[in-house]
Symmetry: C2
Subunit: 298 residues, 2 copies
């Protein structure tokens, strides 16, 4: 089974279906393009989230970095930034390897299709003109045959007319023979045209159009294969990024594991201890030495 044999009378269907196929490729490209826009937007939002929570350079927060659990937060922000970068990689690769690639390919298919359709139309026109020639020569043969028949009847009528001269009879017979001769030539011409037309029709239905249709079938199969590649690439691009995203997640886990809560509370001591000793007991201030003296005198 092939289009050339089984769809020999479905030129319109083939034309429509191959257009539908190209539209589907275009639709898929549009789908992927909108996906890349979503990815870019997602990455942009993640990046501004990171920026929003990252401390301004040279602020008080520089000192805060001495606390592992604060430094780890900054590390996580960094990993999120890398993460966003990977979403951008997805978007860029989808744009390059699917959208641009498929658009270029479908341009080629579009041109190829157009040229096949043109070849088909040309073949159709050739067959039509061949048919027109056949029709003309057939009509001429029919017309000339009527003329010849009329001339023959006329010659017979004159031949049997007792008032006709021999010269009249001879003239009429000559005229009838001439017409019969012309009709015979038209008949031969019609027979030749018919033979040519049947050859052309055979060429059209059994060779030219089947070839064109089969080329279009082949073209459609190539388009479908390319589109299938585009589907596969859609998954593969993201799959390639998963290990890197996994590394970002590892980085976040590492940042969490590095946190040492004992260390962090000791850091507060290092940064803030005065080194002073705690106050000693207050001493007794004896204002009464004078009194005691006086009192003991009494």
């Amino acid at each position: 089974m092939d289009w050339g044999t089984d769809l020999w009378d479905q030129f319109d269907i083939i034309e429509k279906h191959t257009q539908w196929g190209l539209d589907l490729v275009e639709k898929y490209v549009k789908f992927v393009k909108e996906r890349t826009e979503i990815e870019q937007n997602y990455a942009k939002q993640l990046r501004s989230l990171v920026k929003k929570f990252n401390p301004k350079r040279g602020t008080k927060e520089d000192q805060d970095c001495k606390y592992t659990h604060y430094q780890s937060f900054l590390d996580i922000l960094n990993e999120m930034n890398d993460y966003a970068g990977q979403r951008e990689v997805i978007a860029e690769n989808m744009m390059m390897n699917i959208c641009i690639e498929l658009t270029k390919y479908s341009q080629d298919i579009k041109h190829e299709r157009k040229s096949h359709l043109l070849d088909g139309r040309k073949s159709q026109q050739l067959l039509e003109s061949s048919y027109k020639l056949l029709d003309n020569s057939k009509r001429r043969f029919e017309r000339e045959w009527r003329e010849a028949e009329k001339a023959g009847l006329n010659a017979e009528r004159i031949d049997q007319d007792i008032n006709a001269t021999k010269a009249d009879v001879e003239k009429a017979k000559q005229h009838a023979n001439l017409r019969a001769h012309v009709a015979e030539e038209c008949k031969n011409d019609y027979a030749a045209q018919l033979q040519k037309y049947n050859k052309d029709q055979n060429q059209f239905y059994f060779i030219d159009m089947p070839q064109i249709f089969n080329k279009m079938q082949d073209m459609d199969e190539r388009r479908i294969k390319k589109l299938a590649d585009g589907y596969r690439t859609f998954a593969d691009i993201e799959r390639r990024v998963i290990p890197i995203i996994g590394k970002c997640l590892d980085g976040i886990n590492k940042a969490a594991d590095v946190i040492n809560e004992k260390n962090d509370t000791l850091t507060l001591i290092e940064l803030n201890k005065s080194g002073f000793e705690r106050p000693m007991d207050q001493e007794f201030e004896d204002y009464s030495q004078g009194i005691n003296r006086t009192a003991s005198d009494s």
Copy 2:
């Protein structure tokens, strides 16, 4: 090294640092909350992308599904929908297991911190009132001592005054003795207050405040551990989703592999072949049988 021993004179620093710690938890919760909003938004965009490219039910596209490369596109849309669902799972789990969890925990820490700070203020107030009592008794002792000294000097002066009566001398001496006795009682009171104050001061600096500060250090360590758990969960929630996302990608690959371009072009035949045979040769229509007859007659 601990806060009770080494930061004994840094109540303000400890108060400020533990507040900073709670602010950091709040900041992290806010960061994660904004991340969940980004994920929800991302998922929503993916879902509307899928919806936009999914055919309306009952349209001509139902027939298009007979083409594997079109059906696979629909399968990919389905996988993308599942993919979006996984981003929503990430958002929901982050909200539940980080934002709500940490907010609840930091409320507890906030209350605990407030109660420690209150205990510290109470201890400070107790020591201050103890000091006030000490100061008062010390001043009273000083004042009474001056009075007693003055009374003693006055008694001496009267004793040596040749114009003074014996009764005057006796009265002045009795007054001086009374004053000396009062001063002696104030001295004892001061000594007792001093002993009590030194005991209170000791209690404050070596027992009460160290205990409070160490409890706050312990509290801060628990806060940091919980925050580190929150960091870890941030990565783990996403990591748990990776295999499911991997399955979505597998689904897309499968959809691409299922495509059979030969089949799809045969499907066009099945759906559209007319079953008619290609036209046969046109037959010769011989108008000239009459002529031939006439011509051969001649």
